[in-house]
Symmetry: C2
Subunit: 256 residues, 2 copies
Amino acid sequence: MKKIYLIGIGTGNPEHLTIQAINTFKKVNVFFILEKESEKNEDLVKLRKEILQRYLPDGRYRVMAIKIPERKKGGRELEVYKERVASWRKQKAEIISNLIKQEIADGETGAILIWGDPSLYDGHIEILNYILKEGWADFEFEVIPGITSMQVLTARHKIPLNFIGESIRITTGRRLKEIHPDDVKNSVVLLDNYLTYRNFADSDLHIYWGSYLGTEEEILISGRLNEVLDEIIKTRNEAKKNNGWIMETYILRAGE
Amino acid sequence: MKKIYLIGIGTGNPEHLTIQAINTFKKVNVFFILEKESEKNEDLVKLRKEILQRYLPDGRYRVMAIKIPERKKGGRELEVYKERVASWRKQKAEIISNLIKQEIADGETGAILIWGDPSLYDGHIEILNYILKEGWADFEFEVIPGITSMQVLTARHKIPLNFIGESIRITTGRRLKEIHPDDVKNSVVLLDNYLTYRNFADSDLHIYWGSYLGTEEEILISGRLNEVLDEIIKTRNEAKKNNGWIMETYILRAGE
């Protein structure tokens, strides 16, 4: 039998790794690093290789960096977006099932390193389940949880994720657009490349914003949204220009 | 200046600890282990001491186990519950500020070990912010994220937390009672001691249920709620009897 691990590695700080992740590394024969073709952020490939070098100093493993096709852009509408993600995942499933068949010998173990946690807005769990369901390759898999950007955001701002006994919504920029300011209450927003928080500039909401969380480039801004909005936009635009990429994570919260 | 760390230690598996948590341990002079007076689960104190022994074998630290008063029971109603938690937290704030004043010398570092992640349904972040705001003690603090039961649940069931581009609700048993089955969609439920999932027995919802997650006692059950409900209730009742305590985490999900 072949075995695949999906290993959550946190948000870029090598210290986010759990002992479980590191102990799992030691069982792995081949690590797959999947990167979008157009990926400008070579940093992100480098960072994963550095994590492996740090925790597996003896170098007895193979690393394969594989370019994967870019997802079709333009899916601002949720239904279009969902379709495009689903079709992109099928393409990735084909690539991954070929890797499993060709690059992992029977009895060997492969791993895919996942930013954050494999269960949160990632997709590899669904892809592996899909490959198994379709019978494209034969293997077992396990998931190793990792620290998410949401957790680093709250830790660094020193705020709880929840109010006492209250719910939390985790959502995306696309979904947030559809939510009325009065219904936002306490929402964590991930995958927002559209500065959707601008839509709430006239509300009484408070924002806890962060980027490059856990890394040396980390930026944190918080305050009443209408008071800090300009600062956030200016900061993120400059950082994006300097670093070539940006990922934003934030919480919008009423009643602060 | 005195320093306090709130350190997330995961759900009971010592391998859930991050390198950041372990490196933070090394800076700590005194660890506070806070336990409810009536706590039957001596296991949970023991487990934390074992974690310290494992990662700090030289033993150059102090450990103080402190009994804290029990929260007043009976707050099934949300408003009553919130009030009781708030007043309980004030009691804890008094105890913790005394510990900081009396047990940590200037320049020393204290730590509180937190199950899961300090930001998720815990309360110590708010307690420390409250002590600072009230001026009861003078210190700095930092938060170290940890793996939550929610993440271990999805990892072990090999399911994503979210559908593509969709939101997730994290909530409590008390809150869940107020939600109509059609609105549950994709909800993670924590802190449910009331078997609230029974309320949804007539729905089409799917449940992914887990307890003692990450430990050797781990139990996982999943399926259509109306098909697995009896098994879950039977299993949790037996486990509670055997172990003296139970914590349940589950996801209710439509459209599986």
